[in-house]
């Protein structure tokens, strides 16, 4: 069976896996973004808290994905739970870091001006600081998403969802004719998904970055 026949035969399974892969990554990214930006907002004003947040999340990123999943399995069991927890944790660092950098990088004169026209702390944060910090945060989200695509593939070993299952089926049947097709389908599928996500983020950037600060 050549590769295209394989795709034709299994397209339903492949699409289901691809959908699950994308949906797992997307959902974890939403959670990671919310938590990450929140951590950034809470910690960026103090040097100490900001550094602690960056240090903690970067330590998490240092841990190899397979080991993280291995540590989670005894606690939460196999399947979706360790996948979701691991993906969310790994997604945090780029977002936390870029939120802090972005929020700290806002021109103090602008914040002063906002204060001067009588904006409250919350209003300043929501209407001035976060929109100005949005481009780096979005970059962080893109970077996280790409990373999670690959980590989600590894999570399939712990019975997680997604295209990683296709790759591991191929590894399990090494030597059989379909092994190459399976691995190739899974790998290419993940690359395509990552590129689609990236294109969507470019679009989101076009639509959401305030016109005034576009380059």
């Amino acid at each position: 069976m050549n590769f295209w026949d394989y795709i034709g035969n299994r397209h339903q399974q492949l699409l289901a896996d691809a959908y699950q892969h994308a949906s797992a990554v997307f959902q974890c990214m939403v959670v990671a973004t919310l938590v990450g930006v929140l951590i950034g907002v809470v910690s960026y004003r103090s040097e100490w808290a900001g550094n602690l947040a960056t240090l903690t999340t970067s330590t998490i990123l240092t841990i190899p994905a397979l080991a993280m999943i291995g540590l989670l399995i005894p606690i939460v069991g196999l399947g979706v739970a360790p996948t979701v927890i691991a993906l969310t944790l790994y997604g945090l660092l780029p977002i936390v870091r870029n939120s802090i950098v972005g929020l700290r990088g806002v021109d103090p004169a602008l914040i002063d001006a906002a204060k001067g026209i009588g904006m409250s702390r919350i209003a300043r944060l929501v209407k001035v600081e976060l929109p100005l910090a949005w481009p780096p945060i979005l970059t962080g989200i893109r970077v996280s998403t790409q990373m999670l695509m690959g980590i989600a593939a590894i999570a399939a070993y712990a019975s997680g969802p997604g295209l990683g299952n296709e790759i591991f089926r191929g590894i399990a049947s090494l030597g059989s004719k379909n092994a190459l097709n399976q691995v190739l389908a899974g790998t290419l599928g993940i690359i395509i998904l990552a590129l689609i996500f990236d294109a969507v983020y470019v679009l989101v950037g076009r639509l959401t970055i305030p016109r005034g600060i576009r380059v």
Binding site: G70, L93, M147, I167, I191
Partner: protein, 291 residues
């Protein structure tokens, strides 16, 4: 293919460059080492590293390993776990893992750094964007898929695992090197040329010393990335600590799984700590950011 990214922040907090390379290789977001113009006051060597940094992480790792060891002394293991952990299997896996990491890092560095230097020379500068696009695409490739393809192509063993690990880490280190060399202050290069230095002189006496922090950051990136990818070597029969983790998962033996995971985490954190020390100690003093 890869659209322009939204402009990355170019005002990073000082000393931020040491964060793992995984993520932040957007063009233009290079290192900022050239910034401080005021030379830091001379200090003693040890002052460059605060004692918390020196002691805290190794202490935590030691406590965790000790706790694990004590727990294993008491745990009653069944026969499957016994076999998985006996006969020096754990030590063998650990040794393999370290070996895979060290060898692959060595190759990553001797491939990526010269290539990065080459791609920032005038003659090859046109090729740099192509290499960057390639590197960005490579980021999207899942490590496990790459490894599996290599195993199918070359057969089971240590070699495909090593090659996979190397390919996976070359791209980020390469794009880091290019970004960093590009971020060097052009006026310095101009000044060097102005006093009559040859292009080789400019490279070896100005550009490379300025890029040392960046190269060290590359070493750290590669090491950390490789410790992680080496856990996947087990899927291609390449050994390493991943063997314990996968044995634990497939046989449902939590002690084996936990031991494998804890050792991997400890190794990864320790390697990162070592590399961060090296980063601090080996950076040229003149480039130090005053803290």
């Amino acid at each position: 293919m890869s659209g322009r990214r939204p402009s990355p922040p170019d005002n990073r907090p000082e000393g931020e460059h040491e964060v793992k390379g995984l993520a932040f290789r957007d063009e233009g977001e290079g290192e900022q080492e050239a910034a401080p113009l005021v030379a830091p006051p001379p200090e003693k060597m040890m002052r460059r590293i605060g004692w918390p940094k020196l002691v805290l992480l190794p202490a935590v790792i030691a406590v965790v390993l000790l706790a694990t060891w004590l727990w294993f002394q008491r745990a009653d293991l069944d026969s499957i776990s016994e076999t998985a952990l006996s006969n020096g299997n754990v030590w063998k896996a650990f040794k393999q893992h370290v070996q895979l990491t060290v060898i692959s890092t060595f190759f990553v560095l001797i491939i990526a750094i010269p290539l990065g230097i080459l791609l920032t020379r005038k003659a090859f500068r046109k090729a740099a964007p192509i290499a960057m696009t390639f590197a960005n695409m490579g980021q999207a490739t899942p490590a496990i898929g790459l490894l599996a393809l290599l195993v199918i192509w070359m057969g089971i063993g240590e070699k495909p695992a090593l090659i996979g690990i190397i390919i996976y880490a070359v791209l980020p280190v390469l794009s880091n090197t290019i970004a960093g060399l590009k971020a060097n202050d052009p006026t310095l290069m101009e000044a060097a040329r102005g006093i009559g230095m040859s292009s080789v002189g400019v490279l070896t006496k100005v550009e490379l010393p300025l890029a040392v922090p960046l190269i060290l950051a590359g070493v750290r990136t590669a090491l950390v990335l490789n410790v992680g990818t080496a856990t996947l070597a087990t899927f291609g029969g390449g050994g390493g600590l991943g063997v314990l983790i996968t044995t634990g998962i497939t046989n449902q033996r939590m002690p084996v799984l936990l031991l494998g995971s804890i050792l991997t985490v400890a190794l990864a954190l320790f390697v990162d700590w070592l590399a961060s020390l090296a980063e601090i100690l080996l950076s040229p003093r003149g480039l130090e950011v005053k803290s």
